[in-house]
Amino acid sequence: MRYIPSSPAEREALLAAVGAVSIDDLFATVPRAVYRTERPTLPPPASEIEVRRDLGRVAAKNAHLGEWTSFLGAGLYSHHAPAFVSQLLLRGEFLTSYTPYQAEVAQGTLTAIWEFQTHMALLTGMDVANASMYEGASAFVEAVLMAERLTKKRTKVVVSTGVHPEYRQCLRTYLVNFPFTIVEVPLGKDGTTDAGALAAAADDATFAVCVQSPNVFGIVETWKAAADAAHARGALAIGVVNEMFSLAVLEAPGSAEIDIACGEAASFGLAPSFGGPLVGFLACRDAYKRQIPGRLVGRATDADGRSGFCLTLSTREQHIRRERATSNICTNQGLFALAATMTLSVLGKQGLRETAVQCLSKAEYLKAAVKAIPGPFSVAFAGKTFNEFALHCGVPVNEVLRRAEAKKILAGVPYARLEPSASAYRDLLLVAVTERTPRSGLDALLDTLRSF
């Protein structure tokens, strides 16, 4: 087999060296009842030629964003991916190394993680950030658990329903076995979380108050409302972001008294890849750093005074602290944290801002045009938005999708797909744009809407 270097003769030599007659000897301690001598019932080995043919056909069955105009978002936005990024990710030194436990032979990975931490901290206005989480939803759960550890002996977490439904669903999954209650606070008419309701829901048992901005309907929330609600009761405020470009035009959670920021950073050039691998992040105030889940890289110097980077504060982690660790996370999203770091580096301050302004401008254009259509469509909420908004459909949402599909347009994500039980939002279609959506695409969607 091409992935097993030794030739049959070399394998014989190895066997002889270890004093075995056959491979079976090496498996002698496997109970005979379960030791299999027949081959697995899989097809014969496939050559690259066959794999390309087989899986190439499978891939061709999907609608991909290179060929379709897409307004899909709802937590995952297709921004520009600079050409060099995917090419440099193929460098074996990045691709085929693992967690930089041994700093001396991993300065490349370590430097990049440290830069990722810096980017996340800068964007969120926080002091520190970790080396990555799996993705937004689990990052959110980890942030909630972290808040609980930091506040001690509290039992309640208040969550805006503007937080992505899948994130909330994950929170329920992970928290079910703890004696915690989750209180969900509904949105007001304008699509923002009602500040009063938030304050009312938080009590002295509350350890965290959580909002997302822009929220799942694309509406810009007021971080301060959550921070005030939390701090009034000695709880921590958690800010969720899954469209990171918004932070180039909107107040950073860290500047608005949010304590922990978390979410999804895939906007920085990651391919959507049907939803993964993405890259979660978690950032917080310096005082909380010892409760951060996952890895952290610090800058240090060696014995000769040379500057370098290494894993640090590891006593938080499972490989040292075991059941008392701040999380069970081990493998994280290293390569895609690197991809986001590369993308951020080349975007830079100016590119971040320009991209954000383009996203905003395109969404505003679309919203204004929708409002001008006399048909059965309207913008669902009056709140301010960034690059996504909820379209209220006076016709069945699926009919809108179908008509758009005929023009190779993916018109948006029906909110019902995210949260089928939320019947009040059954008629909403989430429509997202990015700097990659050309005017012609916007106009084609508008034409579809006008056809109703």
Binding site: G92, Q107, D302, A325, G351, L352
Partner: protein, 511 residues
Amino acid sequence: MSDHGTLTSPEPLVRADARLDRRRRFGSLFDAPRAGRVGVLLPPLDVPEADPAALYGKAHRPGVEGEVEASEVDVVRHFTRLSQMNFAIDTALYSLGSCTMKHNPRINEEIARLPGFNDTHPYTPEHLSQGNLELLFRLEEALKVLTGFQRVTLQPSAGANGELTGALMIRAAHVKAGNARKHVLVPDSAHGTNPATAHFAGYSVIELASSPRGTVELSELEAKLTDDVAALMITVPNTLGVFEERILEIAKLVHAKGAYLYLDGANFNAFVGKVRPADMGVDVMHMNLHKTFSTPHGGGGPGAGPVGVCPSLVPFLPVPTVEWSDGAFRLEYDRPDSIGKMRAFHGNFGVLVRALTYILSYGSSIHEVAENAVLNANYIRKRLEPFYHLKYEAPSYHEVVFSDRLQAAAGVHNIDIAKRLMDFGFHPPTMSFPLIVPGALMIEPTESEGKDELDAFVDAMIAIAKECETSPGIVTSAPHTTPVGRLDDAATAREASRPGNFAPVLRAPVR
């Protein structure tokens, strides 16, 4: 001329004199202020430009202070140079035990990058995602064949996340049966994620002391296996590389108490295609696709941790599952007993594509992976046994765990040996566990090393053992050939001496 991949004579490749060596060093992109540099161009804005300041008022942010400013050239060079400071599987044997650092085939990367896979949004309607759903379906089928389980969820993001998925399903099943139970048994040889996972599933951990063979001590197990035990989490072969010979009895004992047998499948590489875990009585097991199934570790991730379950746990699988009916694939959310979702969207899909590519590439020959992984580890064991102490002598499978006992006498510890190995061009073994082997050197060569590379590695280890005797200072001051010397020591020491006070520099300052 014997110039190929073997060790050189001790003659230096780099001349020694400080005056001679003027190599440049490069730090972080944040170190070099490059105000005004630009790295990307966007298309001209083709709609009227909105004014965020006017729109957002107080909430407006004028930009991200402190962000990098660099040209494309700066960035490409920076990351190229960074990469050159990394060891990787693509450069040499990477002996990091338990991590299964095997060859990562490039066809996997190619297939995962096909736009039809890579450029698809998870909320694309199902009828326009049939290829993706087919891929998930086929991977589940293949993993069912290899494990013997009833179903496999592909959603977990990594091994630890798979563990948690399994633990949550176990708990859900107990709850449904009327009693959540309180404890999870974990051998003292286990990986750190096992106890951590049990804790995050709401269980307390009871540790099992290993037998002198390094395996589960049945008497210990029986003693601790009360009615309050929800599950036993074991690792096969365990982190010593030793197979649980009495796995069938263990399973029987666990089941007799109404508990579940969880298998940490991180070491599936040792028996894939040779043993189906379900046949051993395992109820639930996660697999690390980034280990056994060759998806790249990427400097720390991503991984994927699919979990296979026995029939009784099927109702509790995360949603959605992928089903085939009426000639089409679809996502099934209507599973009332499901534990819910472990993450947004459908798992680390790109990793799953790579894993299926790998499985198809091996097909019915996949048992050769296990056979050669075990053969290679045994060869290393055989050759190094005269030079390094082996605490547990039971037969080795995919890895072998030596200790620094012999070298410690001369004041040389596992960390020193590890650092010195860098000078010889190899990635060090794992040292942080198993905790039951003080001064551990956990070596896992994987099947993707040929005899020549194994020999080069072994020769280096032997040379170091000799250096420990003749010139231990060379070893304790290693590495000597890396871009920086030891850093972690400093940080760790400082942290230990001032616990809670140590303030590492976790980010660049804003200028």
